[in-house]
């Protein structure tokens, strides 16, 4: 597409034709209170001046120098260099959702491969072409469970990511679906409560594994309890953990979802990320979003299509399975490239090292007098610390020392005490762990 800006003369001409004096007059019909405020743009600069300006702004980024122990849904994992150069290719970067599916064989094949990888990773039979992110994937999976069972109640674990749960509520309140929260007991979803709260009126039980506190949930028994109650089982997963943990397909999950960010996507201030949903084959018609399928053409040649499109809103309008309009194809492609590049062994190593580092960090920090592990349960690469001092104070001290020590948990989420969610990955450096422990020791004195 050519980029040809309007000249001042053309602008004046167009405004005159419309009988207006300024561009702002175009928006006169919008009440003043609803209009965007005037943005005081700086004066135009030369290319050199802009480069300088950007350098100055970049230098103000504290995050670049910080040792980060933040997780809680977005994780700093190793990204193979190959991804950066492959993903920046014009043919990938510029490709949008394939509206003319048959003309976008490359895009469709890449999506098809992504779906295959997601199925292998989760042990499920079908996966969609990606969702916006993990939180909206949870909401869509819950709606899917309601459609499959024709029931209007969802149970979700209190140990699931609170941000995901907020998005879930936003979607479900509007759809008139009741959400009940299964409490956690010492950091893991309480099986007794699940049995008590979930009955035949419940469409699905949604759990997160590892959960928000990093605890590896007893999925076999929780799954059995959900099935016994007559509900579908939905699981939000941290894809890296599947390098070590049993895939959800092995404990009879019906729907699996998650955020793809850990698979080759930089944190980049919160996005863009992508989500995914995978499910048992029998549920495929209620799977939201796009699906790429492989077929053969009239000459017997392999070709790729967007399949089952009649479920989607461009055909089924108001009765579509979902109002998701597109998928996050470039992010999904990044996830596929990551998995192909790392391979099964590489993924396993990333998971193992994350766990090992988290274990070492937890032992070191809990060696500091007065610091406790909140939950005595097996954890993956995150854990919750209880501190006997105000967390605000510690966070401020750590920030001075260029350390982001963890996420402060909302009061009551983990328990009565002030608590901090701490994360390590394969990128966490020993020296930084040591520095963290030293700051903590100093603050406690």
């Amino acid at each position: 597409m050519d980029y040809i800006p309007h000249t001042p003369y053309e602008r004046r001409e167009m405004l005159a034709a419309a009988g207006l004096a300024t561009e702002n007059d175009l928006f006169r019909s919008i009440p003043a209170a609803l209009r965007n405020p005037e943005i005081p743009f700086p004066a135009p600069m030369t290319e050199m001046e802009i480069a300088d300006e950007m350098e100055d702004l970049a230098r103000r980024n504290e995050g670049r120098r910080m040792a980060s122990f933040l997780g809680g849904g977005a994780y700093r994992h190793f990204i193979p260099q190959a991804l950066k150069s492959l993903l920046s290719r014009g043919d990938f970067v510029t490709a949008y959702t394939p509206y003319q599916a048959e003309a976008s064989q490359g895009t469709l094949q890449s999506i098809y491969e992504f779906q295959t990888l997601m199925c292998r990773l989760t042990g499920m039979e079908a996966a969609n072409a990606s969702m916006y992110d993990g939180a909206s994937a949870l909401a869509e999976a819950a709606l899917m469970a309601c459609r499959l069972t024709r029931k209007e109640k969802i149970a979700v674990s209190a140990a699931a990511n609170p941000h995901y749960c907020r998005v879930l509520n936003t979607y479900l309140v509007a759809a008139g679906i009741e959400v009940v929260e299964i409490p956690h007991d010492g950091g893991a979803t309480c099986a007794e409560s699940l049995k008590r709260m979930v009955d035949a009126s419940c469409a699905g039980v949604f759990l997160q594994n590892p959960n928000y506190f990093g605890v590896v949930e007893p999925m076999d028994s929780l799954s059995a309890a959900a099935k016994e109650a007559g509900a579908l089982l939905g699981v939000a997963v941290y894809p890296i953990s599947l390098g070590l943990l049993k895939p959800p397909g092995a404990y009879n999950a019906d729907i699996v979802l998650g955020d793809l960010q850990p698979l080759g996507m930089p944190l980049s201030f919160g996005g863009p990320y992508a989500g995914f949903i995978a499910c048992k084959g029998e549920y495929i018609r209620q799977l939201p979003g796009r699906l790429a399928g492989r077929t053969t053409d009239a000459d017997g040649k392999t070709g790729y299509v967007l399949t089952l499109q009649t479920r989607e809103q461009h055909i089924r309008r108001a009765k579509a399975t979902s109002n998701i309009c597109t998928n996050q194809a470039l992010c999904a492609l990044a996830a596929a490239m990551y998995l192909f590049t790392m391979g099964a062994r590489g993924l396993q190593q990333a998971a193992e090292r994350s766990v090992r580092n988290a274990r070492a960090l937890q032992e070191r920090l809990c060696g500091v007098k007065g610091v406790r592990l909140a939950f005595q349960k097996p954890f993956f690469n995150e854990f919750v610390l209880e501190l006997p001092i105000p967390i605000e104070h510690f966070l401020a001290k750590a920030k001075e020392e260029q350390v982001a020590p963890g996420i402060r948990l909302a009061p009551g989420l983990a328990g009565e005490k002030e608590a901090l969610l701490v994360c390590a990955t394969e990128l966490t450096r020993k020296a930084d762990m040591e520095r963290y422990a030293e700051i903590l020791t100093k603050v406690m004195e």
Partner: protein, 126 residues
């Protein structure tokens, strides 16, 4: 092309009376409009329907269309053959391609439907 012994709706369903039940399907014209049918979502047996309620979804390569109940009652049978062979509707819409059977609450409702002649003029005008 339009069997004389059936009743018809404006939305292109047909009804065949079989004792106290009514077999329901879609007409030749409807299957032609839909093109190749690839999936039929059937209701569960025992579901109560009112006139005009959706009681099945018929998906083709092009579109997904609803089957509306031409008559009130209870779903007493569904054509499970369509699960594996939805294309039967394209091949034999008035026969083997039936979709559901409804136990009628009030057979007098049949009088509201069109006969073959009325349906044919409805097609000509649509």
């Amino acid at each position: 092309m339009t069997p004389q012994d059936l009743k018809y709706t404006e939305s292109h369903e047909w009804v065949r009376v079989e004792g106290g039940a009514a077999a329901v399907g879609i007409t030749h014209y409807a299957q032609e409009q839909l093109t190749d049918i690839v999936f039929v979502e059937l209701p569960e047996i025992g579901r109560k329907v009112d006139v005009g309620d959706e009681c099945a979804v018929i998906e083709s390569c092009k579109v997904a269309a609803e089957l509306y109940a031409p008559i009130a009652g209870e779903i007493v049978a569904v054509n499970t053959e369509l699960n594996d062979h939805p294309e039967i509707i394209n091949k034999d819409p008035f026969g083997a391609g039936w979709i559901v059977k409804i136990q009628m609450l009030d057979p007098a409702e049949l009088d509201e439907l069109m006969d073959a002649t009325a349906y044919e003029s409805h097609l000509e005008n649509s």
